[in-house]
Symmetry: C2
Subunit: 335 residues, 2 copies
């Protein structure tokens, strides 16, 4: 890399003159500015980012910690984060916690040594189940701002970006009720997560409020991904009269649809299905799955915006919790 020093030597001026010239300081003569700029251009001078960071105590970089990059939702949020960060002149350093608390802790520690100006994080399942917060508190105490998204916790007082999980599930369940569905099942493989619980509650609340609805709520919890198919087959066997399904994750709805069709169940005539998702599975469904759309890219953008605001303002402003709107998108699996 070309340095200021090298430019200075070639031009027989001092380093500070070169520095000022490149910043078009009016302490410097027009002539010198031009000479300096010309040489800088010629040698493709780029200010050393590390030196700038050391001097300014700012890295123009932030850390992003996500639980699982193979989950399409997080990939999409990341897409939004990257786009917005780049637009604002920031780099992002990615860490994948892989749903593990210790990996999350490690990432926070490693990047907390001056590598980043702040964090955007969605916490690991393990962290959430055990309700661990100390590692995030400790980052905050170092005066490094943190924005949490999607998987958040009330225990920590920081900016957050969420969707109205409760409301979205509530709305979807009410839609099924209005369709006249009599036995509505909730499918989930994320009950352990804050968002999962909220969605379950939305479903329960809607059923509870409905005077017409006679059945008990039915919650089907799918342990791990290998069991999705058998669990859903079992569902149709155990509840042959099911006429409404709300899937609160981004996979089980599609599988429920496939299995229903295979069993000869008419969708949406005799069974409505609403998924939580993720338009990229649509080519794989027929009829097209109706879903609650999560504006993942917007979540990413909003997280970046909150973080940059916080970096600018530090503790000046109040904590913000931004709720991104979801939409119930009716396609072919609802009437």
């Amino acid at each position: 890399m070309v340095t200021l020093k090298q430019l200075a030597q070639k031009l027989n001026v001092s380093v500070s003159t070169v520095s000022k010239a490149l910043h078009e300081s009016d302490e410097i003569s027009k002539d010198t500015i031009e000479r300096v700029k010309a040489l800088a251009q010629e040698l493709n001078y780029q200010p050393n980012k590390v030196a700038l960071s050391l001097k300014s105590n700012k890295t123009k970089t932030f850390g992003v910690i996500i639980p699982n990059i193979l989950n399409h939702f997080f990939a999409k949020v990341l897409y939004g984060i990257e786009e917005e960060a780049t637009k604002k002149g920031y780099d992002i350093i990615i860490c994948i916690s892989n749903e593990s608390y210790s990996k999350e802790l490690q990432s926070l520690e490693v990047l907390g040594n001056g590598s980043v100006d702040g964090f955007i994080i969605s916490i690991a399942e393990e962290t959430q189940i055990n309700n661990q917060t100390q590692h995030i508190e400790s980052v905050l105490q170092q005066d490094l701002p943190v924005v949490m998204f999607d998987r958040v916790t009330d225990e920590i007082n920081c900016d957050k970006v969420i969707i109205d999980d409760f409301g979205a599930a509530y709305e979807a369940t009410n839609f099924l009720l209005k369709e006249g569905r009599k036995q509505i099942v909730l499918l989930s493989n994320i009950e352990e997560l804050s968002v999962g619980k909220l969605r379950v509650n939305g479903y329960l609340k809607a059923l509870e409020e409905s005077s017409d609805y006679k059945n008990k709520p039915i919650l089907i919890h799918i342990g791990n991904n290998d069991q999705i198919e058998e669990c859903i087959e079992a569902l149709y066997t155990q509840y042959p009269k099911v006429d409404g399904i709300l899937s609160i994750d981004n996979t089980t709805g599609v599988v429920a649809l496939h299995k229903a069709l295979k069993k000869g169940i008419e969708v949406p005539n005799n069974l409505s299905i609403i998924g939580f998702s993720d338009e990229n599975v649509l080519p794989f469904t027929e009829p097209k799955l109706s879903t609650i759309s999560q504006p993942a890219i917007d979540i990413g953008k909003a997280s970046v915006d909150l973080l940059l605001e916080r970096i600018k303002m530090k503790s000046q402003t109040d904590i913000k919790v931004k709720t991104i709107k979801t939409n119930l998108v009716l396609r072919g699996t609802t009437k």
Copy 2:
């Protein structure tokens, strides 16, 4: 952040003593070492990464540039990269080119200012179509190592990680031929890419070599993602006798299967389908799609390993091109 200076002041010793003590230099007395370490621990001292980078001219960070994070293949490679990098004590800075040359160029320039020790890149579609290489050459000339994976170009002389795209398609096509298929269609939405071309060639070569096979090769190119379904429907109309499909991307195979079943075509009895992919779509298929498996995580790991080797050795060793083995995984859509 706590600094060496602060430790030194509290202990009434010099900064250099503290530094040496923390490194357990034997220039320093046992006693001092212990006092220093105790205080460092207590105050949770962490060496400032930026200062270390400036001093050592190494960042222990590298840049990863991928075309599209929403593509599951790249997400998986990224997973492998992140895991291996973390294991080796490196951070990764992610850039998403979004298939655009200018974004790719920008990322390379932005990170080429001392932010990273090297790059791992899979080039954008636009870059590949226009055969642009200057931006990568110029990084290489700055003595920043580059490893390319998947979408590579012969024009650039650097370490590479690829799969045997030609061989994989060749093997899959031969399998279909051995099944006795008489009209084998190739489905693709990635013909513009190096990997796409190689896969097409593998298919063509296999057909050409087969003395039994009488039909002409049929290449169906799907323009953009919105057209997948209609193109495939058109395929079944135009070629009602199709009895073998090789999909060389990670989406069209699944759609081809769904559409075939919907048309009442018996799979695999009257039609075999092999996809190129991506096990995460399997829950959405029945029978399960047979695929050529791309070991994406291994590709990521191998890329990191090559890069770190190169960073260590600089120009000492020869350029390496590592070919990761694929597997033809027979499931339900082949006999």
